[in-house]
Symmetry: C2
Subunit: 184 residues, 2 copies
DNA sequence: GTTGAAATTAGTACGAA
DNA sequence: TTCGTACTAATTTCAAC
């Protein structure tokens, strides 16, 4: 975990420097580094690029409703859209969320109305623009849980008190109101 | 752009190998590499970590409605939540979208109902679970636009045909219907 | 899991095209 | 701006412990 913590902040650090920061020997660092890569815990190393400086100043989220039994086609179409940076299948009102980077607002409009709308698998879309990216952490690690808290718990083995079947995937405010009623 | 293309796929490549792949001299590669870093085009290098293998198998999106004039406090609270991987301010129904990685569903529930709900700046939340991350590209580049298309356009200087003030930030299906009516 | 030396590679400087 | 090259510093590998 310590190795991962260092590497997500500085992916180009030398293994020797990594060893020193983690507090192990160089040879050990090489062994563990290679093991993490082979194991797949580290998927790849990448450069974070300033998309604004690269000429893609507009970021948008497109929430997509996918026609049932056309998922395979939807995924195939996604693979052919290089402007898509991220796509996740979600629960809730929509089926998928897509994040795109474009040069300007008009390009987003064109993408959604011309390209996305012509995909048969796409039933409907809802577009939202990103005004500001407040934070992007390289990747969250389990050890982050205790960081930033004033009082750290001794990692109690908290059981899943709320059964999954009882959860409501809705707004928290609404959920709290309902719980209050139920609880009395 | 070529350098960025290589670097986002392999952030740990040596500058010598980078020079060869891009087709420039070693010395030139060092110069440009350093310039890209100094300029801020490359923000940092990072390791992509498999969060499932790291013990954080659940990913969720929390859409947050923020109380007006409490943005500063909201951002301050965010900084103290290490489980948040990404946060963006958006247009549309909600004010912000937060992506979190947690060990299990119960942990997400706890985060939203116990921690988030106790932040005065948070008026309401809506949680959605990510079932599958279809794709995550390191960072999209302008050169990606033409890739993956069967017919590539000669990069015409397309003007912004649709004025921003005329755009409707709503569902595309709805938007198309409206345009049909307007257009006749 | 550690240390230390050999082999290799990376980073720097500078003149020329 | 870019290239080639020579030089110095650092990294990686590999061995014994």
């Amino acid at each position: 975990m310590k190795i991962l913590e260092v590497l997500r902040e500085n992916g180009r650090i030398s293994v020797a420097a990594l060893a020193e920061r983690v507090g192990i020997s160089r040879a050990n660092a090489y062994t563990r580094f290679e093991a993490l890569r082979a194991d797949g815990a580290i998927k790849r190393f990448t450069a974070e690029i300033d998309h604004v400086r690269a000429g893609l100043g507009i970021t948008a989220l497109v929430f997509v409703t996918v026609r049932q039994q056309m998922w395979k086609q939807f995924r195939a179409e996604l693979a052919r859209m290089p402007e898509v940076e991220y796509c996740a299948i979600t629960t809730g009102q929509h089926d998928a969320m897509i994040q795109v980077r474009m040069a300007d607002v008009a390009a987003v409009h064109r993408l959604v109305t011309e390209r996305m709308a012509n995909i048969p698998a796409v039933k409907a879309t809802e577009t939202v623009f990103i005004l500001d990216e407040v934070l992007r952490r390289p990747y969250v690690l389990p050890t982050d849980r205790d960081a930033g808290r004033t009082a750290r718990r001794p990692a109690a083995p908290e059981p899943a008190e709320v059964p999954l079947g009882k959860m409501r995937f809705v707004g928290a405010a609404e959920g709290r109101a309902a719980l209050r009623k139920e609880g009395g």
